[in-house]
Symmetry: C2
């Protein structure tokens, strides 16, 4: 299956094929590794990261220079920049993954058939994982750690601006793998900035089992369009908080403010507030006051604007927009059904919450809203692998297959059926 | 995302889009249906199939005429042809699915976080399933039943030769859905024979959640190459039976004969026999005698041909070939490790078995062979949803994501996280 890209870049093609073959060979050994071995690799990698903090920072300097030349904006440079605290965070992140139970070789199910066959469903590693991400060096260690813990081999393609930092971090992961007598090829970094390497990864069927894009919409879209390999991905996080007529007002304000404003740039941040029209008159002024004080722009429907003049007029697009910024859309709804319908129509099946003291209404919302994560009386910002207890996450899946919601080590596994017989033949 | 096909066939494009929208609307209702309602639909559909057997047979006559004109070969015509017994089999198949537990709204997991949040993982329907299959009318009722039981909406694209039969069967499923007050759009049959409809299905992202191809290699390959929607699929069933040096001879012969010859055309049929060289001299003559008597052609390596002259010379291709015919490849191996390596290199990750009385050797094989189904002392022909206790199957997945092995109603579900709080906000 040669693509145009391949014929134009035979050198990169050969390089990527070699990386893929090395990853497959490493995966076979990783799949057999004990949990103690995998944990030892992570512990030693964390030590190496601490011991080599200066080297990592020096490499990061080079990346920042390059990023400045490439005119990254301040937010991008901020994400790219490492400091002692962030490096310690990476090391601690690896140690958190050590505390997780081994996600593979678990008996997930067992049953016996009338003919005496005993069937087991057993978790195993997913295989070779291709992770494509942007210029956030911390993803390098997080993604590698989760992949390693689940017995996979990872091929990491970092953003071109973070190549030096990522190389320095991968060197520490290699030190950990070596110390645990595991193959260093279990974590490989694509060594070129050439974008053709991404095209290669997306067509390496037979060598890569799954692609995980972690980054902005343009990256995810490219992967969706080009990949011949199954993907775990997340497109939008257009999350809703719906305040039902039987909500507690103080709770509603506290939860909504946290859901919207704790961090506005994460995918679990609430982008849209729905509120029952029967309580809007009493609730909305308090909500608008808090949002306004916190510097959040409000864009609402006409009904909401009649109640609070600070609310600007929302356009049709607003209901479908993931702002990732201090902006919120506000809509009054007739009842629970309209709220559910709005969320299913305009949401992105990521995370949506209802605030209510009415358990019946809550259950209806939780059941009928077709999202990966649905919440009752909690902030949508809890949509996070760490907050779920997964140790870390490689992303949040809004797809319906394989993994939904936060993707941790357990989600980077698959299973096999193991069948025990004593000579059974089929009739 | 308009493809060439779309612009050339705007009528089919519009038709398929309308089918997709109706399916999505039906899915929302199906997801809320009770198990009793879904079972009632299946029971009434089974009744309708029995009551309308003559109509189905008349429709099948038309298909056979068309198939004869199209010069289908005798095996294809055989698969296309219905009779009273096959129609009763369809009705009974629906009733088997009724006996299965409801695969959705099951609490798969539950845990509490230190902050008091209670997290549940709950099974839900997969959504809208596109099933593309060949001219075997029975797939219509099997696939629809499993989809329906799991609360999904199905878009069925049958082989062009079975269109009349499939329409008659779908009419019975509609009667069942109506009787249970469920939307008939939960089971829709693509009403055209135009192949452009398949191209449409494969690009209906946002309307179809998953594509299940069920048919030969050319269909599966087309789907793999063209689909922009995730797929559950199976490519090859190049299954192995490995006879270890500590096998019981009678069991080895009985199991191998069943694995190869019970039905040669199913994907779980053994295609390759591996045997430890230390026992080949005593085991192979008995195996060759049984195979030869049963009319099975044998193609082996030089070592095997020295032991039994009836074995023809195998070419390199034979090790990678799924015959689906009374032919078997035979290879002597040095030991367990060589057998495992051969299976992982040449197999198709479908189903592979070891025959041995040595549990240690068995465990090593079961663990290291990287296939969806691995077996100890049993016939590979047990690779079947019915034999697993799944009631029926829509296919056997050799992919690594979401569903591996037999795909029954449970594999046509996904999950959501439901989180219960009491006002928690994230720090």
């Amino acid at each position: 299956m040669k693509s145009k890209v391949v014929t134009l870049n035979s050198e990169i093609h050969d390089q990527m094929q070699a990386i893929g073959r090395k990853a497959r060979a490493a995966y076979i050994i990783m799949a057999e590794a004990t949990n103690a071995q995998k944990d030892a690799a992570l512990v030693h990698a964390a030590m190496a990261i601490r011991d080599n903090a200066d080297k990592i920072l020096a490499a990061n300097e080079k990346d920042i220079e390059y990023g400045t030349l490439k005119k990254l904006d301040s937010a991008q440079l901020e994400r790219l920049t490492l400091d002692k605290k962030r490096i310690e965070g990476m090391a601690a992140g690896l140690e958190t993954v050590v505390t997780l139970p081994d996600p593979v070789n678990k008996k997930l199910d067992e049953w016996e058939r009338p003919n005496g066959l005993v069937l087991q469903r057993v978790s195993i590693p997913l295989g070779v994982i291709g992770i494509i991400y942007e210029a956030r060096p911390g993803v390098t260690s997080d993604a590698a750690a989760l992949s390693l813990k689940a017995g996979n081999a990872a091929i990491l393609r970092c953003g071109s601006e973070s190549l030096h930092s990522s190389q320095a971090i991968v060197a520490c992961l290699h030190a950990g793998l070596k110390a645990a007598k595991l193959p260093v090829d279990a974590v490989q970094l694509v060594p070129t900035r050439d974008r053709a390497a991404v095209g290669e990864m997306l067509t390496m069927t037979g060598l890569i089992d799954i692609i995980v894009p972690r980054g902005g919409k343009s990256l995810t879209k490219r992967v969706m369009e080009e990949s011949r390999i199954p993907t775990i991905q997340h497109l939008d996080g257009n999350c809703h908080t719906y305040i039902h007529k039987k909500a507690d007002k103080d709770m509603a304000v506290a939860v909504l403010m946290n859901a919207k404003m704790r961090r506005v740039s994460i995918c679990g941040a609430t982008e849209s507030l729905l509120i029952d029209e029967t309580i809007a008159k009493t609730f909305l002024p308090a909500l608008a006051e808090a949002l306004s004080k916190a510097g959040c722009e409000m864009r609402g429907d006409d009904a909401s604007r009649k109640i609070d003049k600070r609310i600007k007029k929302a356009s049709d697009e607003d209901w479908d927009t993931e702002y990732l910024a201090p902006i919120i859309s506000i809509k009054l709804v007739k009842d629970l059904d309209e709220a559910i319908d709005h969320v299913n129509r305009h949401g992105s099946h990521h995370t949506d919450a209802i605030i209510t003291t009415d358990m019946k209404a809550a259950r209806s919302f939780l059941r009928k809203v077709d999202s990966a994560i649905v919440m009752h009386n909690a902030s949508t910002q809890f949509a996070d692998g760490g907050e779920f207890g997964f140790g870390a996450e490689i992303g949040i899946s809004t797809g319906r297959l394989h993994a939904r919601g936060p993707v941790g080590a357990e989600q980077l596994t698959t299973y096999k059926y193991v069948i025990y017989g004593n000579g059974q033949t089929r009739a």
